[in-house]
C-alpha cells in the first residue's frame, strides 16, 4: 500500500514538472529524461508502468498549451486526500493571489476546515479566515478522539444546481467540465449562491456578480494545474483528467476509496475525496 501511495504521489507531482512546460522545449526534454530515470531508479517499476507514465505526460494538460487548447479533449476533476492535508492554508493563499480574490474574510474559492471530534461524539468545526494562515492549536473542552483538515472548493458538479437556476445562463459548464461564471453577463441575482449546497459561491463586492473557483481555468488552457494543486506541499490535491485511465487523478481514484460531498443531493461532484470522514458536510 505504501508503495502504491508513492506511485500515486509520483503521479501527482509529475504533472507539475511537465506543466512547467512554460520553460524552453530543450530544457523540458532533459527534465523529462532525468525525471523518468529517477522514477525508474526509485520505484524499480517495469516497462508497462513506465509506458503508462509516458502516456500520463501526453494526457495531462501539459503540452496542449503549446499547441492550442482543445476543450473537447479534456474532462477535469480534482482529488483531495484528506489524510494528507496538514492545514497549512497555502492552497487558500495561492488561490486568492492567483485569482484576485478580495483578501477580506468571507470570500473564498477554496478554504480548509478543521474537524475536532471529541470522545463524547461532539464535533467542533472551524475555519479561521478560511484556514489561510493555518490553524491555532485546537481548543477543545472534551478529550479529543481525532482531528483532521478538509480542503473545500467548488465541486464542479456534473449536475450543478447553480447552473440550473441561473435565470440568464451566465453560469455554465465548459466542455472540459469546469463550472464558470460570465462576469459580463451575470445580473447579480444570487440565486446560484442560494442553490449551491457547498457554500462554494460568493458575491464579488466590487464586480457585483457571483464568483467561484474556476479550477484556475486560465492556467488549464496554458497547460498548468490549478494554483492550489501547484502549491500543496503534501500532494493532498490531485488534479487531472477524470475519464482517461492513466492519469494522476484516475490512479488516485483507483487506489483510494472515493467519496463525494452530499451525495444524496445527486449533484455528481467532480471533486473526489479520499479518507473522508462521515462528519464532513
Amino acid at each position: 500500500m505504501a508503495e502504491a501511495r508513492d506511485r500515486v504521489k509520483a503521479g501527482v507531482r509529475q504533472p507539475h514538472e511537465v506543466v512547467a512546460g512554460a520553460r524552453p522545449p530543450d530544457e523540458h526534454e532533459v527534465d523529462r529524461r532525468e525525471f523518468l530515470e529517477q522514477t525508474l531508479k526509485a520505484c524499480g517499476l517495469g516497462v508497462p508502468i513506465l509506458l503508462g507514465v509516458i502516456r500520463i505526460q501526453d494526457l495531462v494538460a501539459g503540452e496542449a498549451g503549446q499547441e492550442g487548447y482543445e476543450p473537447g479533449e479534456h474532462y477535469y476533476g480534482m482529488g483531495v486526500d484528506v489524510g494528507r492535508c496538514i492545514g497549512c492554508g497555502m492552497c487558500a493563499q495561492a488561490c486568492k493571489t492567483e485569482n484576485d480574490v478580495p483578501l477580506e474574510p468571507h470570500y473564498f474559492n477554496t478554504w480548509i476546515e478543521r474537524y475536532v471530534i471529541q470522545t463524547d461524539g461532539e464535533v467542533v468545526v472551524d475555519s479561521p479566515n478560511g484556514g489561510m494562515e493555518g490553524f491555532p492549536r485546537a481548543q477543545s473542552e472534551g478529550e479529543i478522539r481525532r482531528t483532521f483538515f478538509v480542503p473545500k472548493l467548488c465541486n464542479h458538479c456534473e449536475d450543478p444546481p447553480c447552473v440550473q437556476v441561473c435565470p440568464v445562463g451566465a453560469t455554465f459548464t465548459t466542455e472540459d467540465g469546469v463550472v464558470l461564471v460570465d462576469d459580463d453577463y451575470c445580473i447579480g441575482c444570487r440565486y446560484c449562491i442560494q442553490a449551491c449546497p457547498y457554500g462554494a459561491r460568493w458575491f464579488h463586492p466590487e464586480k457585483h456578480v457571483a464568483a467561484k473557483c474556476t479550477f484556475c481555468y486560465h492556467r488549464l488552457v496554458e497547460g498548468l494545474v490549478p494554483a492550489c494543486v501547484e502549491v500543496c506541499p503534501t500532494g493532498a490535491r490531485v488534479f487531472g483528467e477524470v475519464e482517461h485511465r492513466a492519469t494522476p487523478l484516475a490512479r488516485f481514484m483507483r487506489l483510494n476509496e472515493i467519496q463525494v460531498l452530499k451525495p444524496h443531493l445527486n449533484t455528481k461532484p467532480r471533486v473526489y475525496y479520499a479518507n473522508l470522514d462521515g462528519e464532513v458536510r
Binding site: 474574510p105 468571507h106 470570500y107 473564498f108 478554504w111 476546515e113 464535533v123 467542533v124 468545526v125 472551524d126 475555519s127 479566515n129 478560511g130 473545500k152 444546481p161 447552473v163 440550473q164 437556476v165 441561473c166 435565470p167 440568464v168 445562463g169 451566465a170 453577463y185 451575470c186 445580473i187 447579480g188 441575482c189 444570487r190 440565486y191 449562491i193 442560494q194 442553490a195 449551491c196 449546497p197 457547498y198 457554500g199 462554494a200 459561491r201 460568493w202 458575491f203 464586480k207 457585483h208 456578480v209 443531493l265 458536510r281
Partner: protein, 391 residues
C-alpha cells in the same frame, strides 16, 4: 454567529427586498382571486369590493418587480432574463409570468370592466379628466347592448384564465424557493401551495382592510354583508393555510432529517419572535379566534353576536394582524433559509440596515408606493358602487 458556517456564508444574500417580493406578489394574487369570487363564482355579497380588489392587485403588481430590480447586482442587465432566459431556471420564467399576468390578465380585465364607465365619464366630464378617460377607452366608445355583452363575456373569460394565472404567479414564487434542494428550510413540495394559500389570505385581508378603512374615510357606510362575507372567506382561507403550514411543520418534525437539529435551534432562537410570536400567535391564532367568534364563518350570525361597529373594528384589527403574520411568513421563509449554514453546524445573523439599496427605508418606500399608486388609480377609476356611471 454560532457554531460553524462556511466562510462564504457570512453575508446573507437575499435581504429585506427579497422578503418584499413574495409578500407583494402574494397580495396581488390574493386580491385577484378575491375579485374572481364575484365574477366567476357569483358571490354577490363581495361585489362592492370587486373593482377595488382589481385595482389593488394592479397597484401592487406594478411595484412587484421593483424590489427585485433594486436587489440585482446589475439591474441594467435584467432585460437579459427576457432575451436569453435559461429554460431550466425556475427564476427565468419570472419575466414571462409577470408580463402575462400584467398585460393579459389584469390590464385587460380592468379595461373591459371599466370601458362602459370610461365612455360615460368621458361624455359627462370636462377638461383633462374627460380626455384622460377618453384616452383610456382606446377609442372603443360603442355602448350598444351587443358591445356591452361582449365586455361582460370577455371579462368573465379573462377572469377564468386569470385564476390559474394568479395561482401560477404566486405558486411560481413558492417554487423558486421550494425547488432549492440545497436548502432544507426551503426545499418542500408544499412550498408553492403554502405560498398560494397565504397569498389568498393576505389578499383578502388587504382588500377587507382597504374597503373598511376607505369607507370610514369617505364617511360612507360599510356594507356589512360584504365585510362579513370577506371576513368569513378570510377565516376559511386561514384555516387551509394554517393547516398546510402545520402539515409541513409536523412532517419535518416527524421525519427528523439531518437538518432538524439546526432548524430547531433556529426556530427556538433566531426566529422565535418572527415565527412563533408574530406569524403563529399574533398573525394566525389571534385573528382566527376573533374571526371565528364574530364573523359569520361558523354560524350565520356569528358565534358571538356583536354590533356592526365593533365587528368593523375587529375586522380592521384582524386584517392588520394577518398582514403582520403574512409578512412574517415571507420574512421567515426568505431570511430563515439563510440564517443557518448549509453545513448544518451553525447559525448566522441578519443585520438590517436603515439606509442603502437594501435598507429599511427603501423597503418602506417600496411598501408604501403601491398604496400611492392605488390612490391614483382610485382617483382615475373610482371603484365604488356609488361612483358607477349611469346612462
Amino acid at each position: 454567529m454560532q457554531g460553524y458556517i462556511y466562510p462564504n456564508e457570512f453575508e446573507l444574500h437575499w435581504g429585506l427586498l427579497v422578503v418584499l417580493y413574495p409578500y407583494i406578489t402574494g397580495l396581488v394574487a390574493g386580491a385577484f382571486i378575491l375579485a374572481s369570487l364575484e365574477r366567476v363564482f357569483n358571490v354577490k355579497e363581495v361585489q362592492p369590493t370587486y373593482r377595488l380588489a382589481l385595482l389593488t392587485a394592479l397597484a401592487f403588481l406594478l411595484v412587484a418587480p421593483l424590489p427585485l430590480l433594486a436587489h440585482l447586482g446589475h439591474p441594467l442587465r435584467s432585460y437579459e432574463i427576457f432575451l436569453t432566459p435559461n429554460r431550466k431556471s425556475a427564476m427565468a420564467m419570472f419575466g414571462f409570468v409577470y408580463a402575462w399576468y400584467l398585460a393579459v390578465v389584469l390590464l385587460l380585465e380592468v379595461w373591459f370592466e371599466y370601458r362602459k364607465d370610461l365612455v360615460l365619464w368621458a361624455r359627462s366630464e370636462r377638461g383633462p379628466k374627460k380626455w384622460l378617460h377618453y384616452t383610456l377607452t382606446l377609442g372603443a366608445t360603442d355602448l350598444s347592448e351587443e358591445a356591452l355583452r361582449f365586455d361582460d363575456i370577455a371579462g368573465r373569460w379573462i377572469t377564468i384564465i386569470g385564476i390559474p394565472s394568479a395561482f401560477l404567479l404566486h405558486g411560481y414564487v413558492g417554487f423558486i424557493f421550494g425547488s432549492v434542494k440545497a436548502n432544507p428550510w426551503w426545499s418542500s413540495v408544499l412550498m408553492p401551495v403554502v405560498f398560494l394559500f397565504s397569498a389568498i389570505v393576505s389578499g383578502i385581508a388587504l382588500v377587507l382592510f382597504i374597503y373598511v378603512a376607505a369607507s370610514l374615510f369617505r364617511s360612507k357606510p360599510v356594507d356589512m354583508r360584504c365585510a362579513d362575507k370577506l371576513a368569513a372567506f378570510l377565516f376559511y382561507a386561514m384555516i387551509v393555510d394554517f393547516s398546510l403550514e402545520m402539515l409541513d411543520f409536523i412532517h419535518r418534525l416527524y421525519e427528523s432529517e439531518e437538518s432538524i437539529e439546526i432548524l430547531s435551534q433556529m426556530i427556538q432562537g433566531r426566529l422565535f419572535i418572527s415565527l412563533i410570536v408574530l406569524q403563529v400567535v399574533l398573525g394566525t391564532l389571534v385573528p382566527l379566534i376573533l374571526l371565528g367568534a364574530v364573523s359569520p364563518a361558523l354560524s350565520d350570525r356569528g358565534v358571538s353576536k356583536t354590533p356592526a361597529e365593533l365587528r368593523r373594528l375587529i375586522y380592521l384589527g384582524c386584517a392588520t394582524l394577518v398582514q403582520i403574520g403574512i409578512f412574517s411568513i415571507r420574512w421567515n421563509v426568505v431570511l430563515g433559509g439563510q440564517l443557518f449554514s448549509k453545513s448544518l453546524r451553525g447559525l448566522t445573523v441578519y443585520k438590517l440596515e436603515l439606509f442603502g439599496a437594501e435598507g429599511l427605508l427603501m423597503a418602506s418606500v417600496l411598501l408604501f408606493l403601491p398604496l400611492v399608486i392605488l390612490w391614483v388609480l382610485v382617483k382615475i377609476l373610482p371603484p365604488w358602487l356609488d361612483a358607477e356611471a349611469t346612462e
